[in-house]
Amino acid sequence: MHITGLLLDAPQANTAANYLPIALQLLFALGFVATMMIVTHLLGPKRKTADKLATFTSGIETHGNARTPMAIKYFLVAILFVLFDVEVIFFYPYAVNFRALGWSGFYSVLMFVGFFIVGFFYIIKKGALVWED
């Protein structure tokens, strides 16, 4: 079986000609970005000094390397934050459809929250949120 054969067998709607608008749009998008970058690069004034290349940190002097080892606690808290933050993504659509979903929706979300409470309980008990050593 060959690609050409596949394409010939496909329904009319899927022929290459029908994708022309998409191709044009793609071309336009890429072309616009490229043109803009080149044009700004050529038109803008240039004055290169060491100060201008330095990292801007709200006027504070930079010191040390960015890749210093950090306490694992930061990551732990961060990942737990993300976990509980994402919860909201589920709650929001549920809140919108609260009436439509009725009791069965309520039970489902209750179960979902239950799981989170169990997890929360576990991380508290394991001392994952204790900041001091």
């Binding site: 079986m1 690609i3 596949l6 067998d9 496909a10 169990v118 576990y122 008990k125 394991k126």
Partner: protein, 462 residues
């Protein structure tokens, strides 16, 4: 259904037991009791006694094959925990969590034996894999363990990506995730479109990765070698067998035989040949028994792939027998390996003098892996090859496999040779009488299955 929910609940129970149970050595008893409950619940399920009645919309479909495999998997895990529980205890500070992760792996296993929907396959694979990434890295202070975990995770994610790509392509081609719909599409189309076949091919690659079939096996030696030996034992046996069951469930005869556009048998035979070749040949030159076992597990996967090659009833029976025989023998070998002070071949020198019973049982396990008659391994291999013969073609593949079974005898016998015929003082940890009794029971099961395979196989007719 029993096993899926109970394993998840038991996993959570194990997690909390770390909070409430302060006595570390009690944890393995809790885990063993939990596994026993799980085993009984699953057997009850097999005989139609399900605790949960939930409308699943065909997301999961339970059949006897899957449930029977659950029994094998849970039973093997129980034996594993009983034999190596003490070593799990020693491997780190978070003992309860290790057991919890094992239960979650079992949850993934039970999903994989019953999925009816490609999403469930994906979820099952992930539930199976993620705990393993953690278990691999559980020896936190060991650089090799960390490295193995990261590698496993990276490559596992890569294969997951391939799998999702495959599922997406199939969805694009058939418009459904349901396995039945996918099958009926494959069965009805005169010429299946490129999308579906490419999707199936991606799925094949992802599953081949999970069962460590060459040339997608690269993670296996590094991960098995780096992971703490106790968890390697679990990964190489129960987990791998579960992946195989998912594999055969996915590539059911109806998917592959009807899509005549692709010679699936040819594809599988390429996988089998390269797996047998790489697994066996590379195992020959290993210096560490543990790493040799990693390659041997690749080689054994080559044999299990025959079930996917022939896809008949005999292959399904044979796969169950193979999974049981291989898992038991490997768990036994690893249980001894964990007790060894030195896991190189030299470390086994003279074990027959210091620990005659362990040497004897280890010999039985190794012979079973090599497929010597009067052991379960022989009949497992026999069924696999017979299923190929039954398909009536590709006889040369059988000859090839037999040749490589002969090669495999070389590296298995190297261990036996070291134990019996080399001088040395093999050092082991203290061996309890209970451990010895457990080894004898496992060896006895292997020999009994090897002598009376029919009694075991009679259960398989479903």
């Amino acid at each position: 259904m029993n096993a899926i929910i109970l394993s998840a609940v038991l996993g959570v129970v194990m997690m909390f037991s770390s909070v409430f149970v302060k006595n570390k050595s009690a944890l393995k008893h809790i885990a063993a009791a939990g596994l026993l409950v799980l085993l009984i619940a699953n057997i009850a399920d097999t005989y139609g006694c399900s605790l949960f009645k939930i409308d699943l919309h065909n997301m999961l479909r339970f059949d006897k094959f899957g449930l029977f495999f659950n029994t094998i998997g849970i039973g093997a895990t129980l034996i594993y925990v009983v034999l190596s529980g003490r070593d799990i205890e020693k491997s780190g500070n978070y003992v309860a969590e290790y057991f919890a992760l094992i239960f979650f792996v079992l949850c993934g296993l039970t999903l994989l034996t019953s999925f009816g929907n490609l999403l469930m396959l994906f979820i099952g694979i992930e539930i199976l894999s993620i705990p393993l990434y953690i278990l691999t890295g559980s020896d936190k202070r060991n650089l090799k363990s960390n490295e193995a975990a990261i590698k496993y995770f990276l490559m596992g994610s890569f294969s997951t990506g391939i799998m999702l790509m495959g599922i997406a392509l199939i969805y694009g081609g058939t418009g459904s995730f349901q396995l039945e719909v996918v099958r009926s599409v494959f069965a009805s189309y005169k010429g299946v479109s490129f999308l579906e076949i490419a999707g199936l091919l991606f799925l094949l690659v992802a599953m081949a990765f999970k069962v460590s079939a060459a040339p997608f096996h690269f993670w296996t030696p590094d991960v098995y070698d780096g992971a703490p030996s106790v968890f390697t034992s679990f990964m190489a046996t129960v987990v791998k067998a579960a992946a195989f069951v998912a594999f055969i469930r996915l590539f059911d005869a109806r998917v592959t035989e009807t899509s005549a556009a692709v010679d699936w048998k040819m594809l599988f035979s390429i996988l089998i040949i390269s797996t047998l070749l790489i697994g066996n040949i590379t195992a020959v030159f290993q210096q560490s028994v543990k790493r040799m076992l990693a390659y041997s597990s690749i080689a054994q996967a080559g044999f299990m792939l025959f079930a996917l090659f022939s896809l008949n009833d005999m292959a399904k029976e044979g796969l169950l027998l193979y999974a049981a025989a291989y898992s038991l023998a490997t768990i036994g070998i690893f249980a001894i390996l964990i007790k060894m002070k030195d896991v190189s071949f030299e470390g086994y020198n003279g074990l027959a003098k210091t620990q005659p019973l362990l040497a004897a049982t280890n010999t039985i396990f190794l012979l079973s892996l090599a497929g010597i008659p009067l052991t379960a391994g022989f009949f497992a291999k026999y069924y696999m090859l017979a299923s190929v013969i039954k398909t009536g073609s590709y006889t040369w593949l059988v000859i090839f496999a037999v040749l490589f079974a002969a090669v495999s005898a070389y590296y298995y016998f190297r261990v036996i040779q070291a134990m019996y015929f080399k001088n040395g003082e093999a050092q082991t940890d203290t061996i309890t009488p209970g451990f010895k009794a457990g080894m004898v029971i496992v060896a006895a099961i292997i020999v009994i299955v090897g002598i009376l395979p029919q009694t075991i196989l009679n259960w398989f007719y479903f």
